[in-house]
């Protein structure tokens, strides 16, 4: 990643291997900008869960659909967007995995993990008609964690870049 790079976007196939690919890609960026090992773990896990969500729930594992992954580096934080081509969902409709009746559920913990591990988390309607997960992690106190210069500040919050 060069000092000028502020935005990275890839389109992934709806395939289980895309989950690992997305995680590895974001981990490399997170490491490059200086996040600690623990924070990299949380970022990697969150990206993984976001892409699993798009792969399984959003795109219903249909190979004809794509998963859109984007990273933005601002002065303050790393912002991650994961967009699917499904029907979208509302956060308030997602069951609480910590509720007694859901503790033994075999699914439904991905959103919870992303919310727990990231500093900011939201789901909005994506430009593809599906859901867009937007989450961010602030750089460590004392300034941006970049090892390679100024990334500028083109995005200062987790608002979607485009909405349907």
């Amino acid at each position: 990643m060069t000092p000028e790079a502020k935005h990275l976007e890839v389109i992934l196939d709806t395939h289980v291997e895309s989950v690992n690919l997305a995680e590895e890609m974001c981990l490399r960026v997170a490491e490059a900008v200086g996040f600690s090992e623990d924070e990299c773990y949380r970022i990697g896990m969150s990206v993984r869960e976001g892409v699993i969500n798009a792969f399984h729930y959003g795109n219903q594992e249909k190979p004809s659909k794509k998963i859109h992954l984007a990273l933005d580096l601002t002065q303050e934080k790393m912002i991650i967007h994961v967009m699917d081509e499904g029907k979208g969902f509302r956060l308030e409709d997602v069951p609480d995995p910590l509720a007694e009746e859901n503790l033994l559920s075999t699914s439904g913990r991905g959103i919870f993990l992303m919310r727990t591990f990231m500093d900011e988390f939201n789901v909005v309607p994506g430009r593809t008609g599906g859901a867009e997960i937007i989450m961010s992690k602030k750089f460590p106190a004392g300034g941006k964690a970049s090892t390679n210069g100024n990334h500028g500040s083109t995005n200062s919050d987790t608002a979607p870049r485009q909405q349907a």
Partner: protein
């Protein structure tokens, strides 16, 4: 990223699965599911998962552990966990599953707990 590796051994009435690597979406979760199913089909329902070398579990892996736990319980058996790494321990705590699973830090105590 390393996959999940697993070996099986018997200690008294207990089958211990020594796992290492990642329990995550894909092969890791599938291997665990297949192994548990085979053990249950073979009549073995006292199962101890040694997670000492498992350094990563995602939500699919958590789901697989829960699925294994309920499958074994439905056969009147017990599935317990041994040697959690800090990451896995923390993950089970924040998901409130630490209170669901019987967790041990040493193998002899874990094995005795089945009797």
């Amino acid at each position: 990223m390393p996959a999940l590796y697993m070996t099986t051994r018997e200690v008294g009435p207990v089958t211990i699965l020594d796992l290492s690597g990642r329990i995550s979406l894909g092969e890791g979760s599938a291997l665990l599911r297949k192994t548990i199913r085979e053990l249950l089909d073979g009549g073995q329902a006292k199962i101890l998962l040694n997670l000492g070398d498992v350094n990563y579990i995602d939500s699919s892996g958590i789901g697989e552990l829960v699925s294994a736990f309920t499958a074994v319980r439905n056969r009147s058996g017990e599935l317990k966990l041994l040697n959690l790494t800090k990451k896995v321990h923390d993950l089970l705590q924040i998901t409130k599953l630490f209170t669901v699973f019987d967790v041990y830090n040493d193998e002899p105590t874990a094995v005795r707990s089945y009797q």
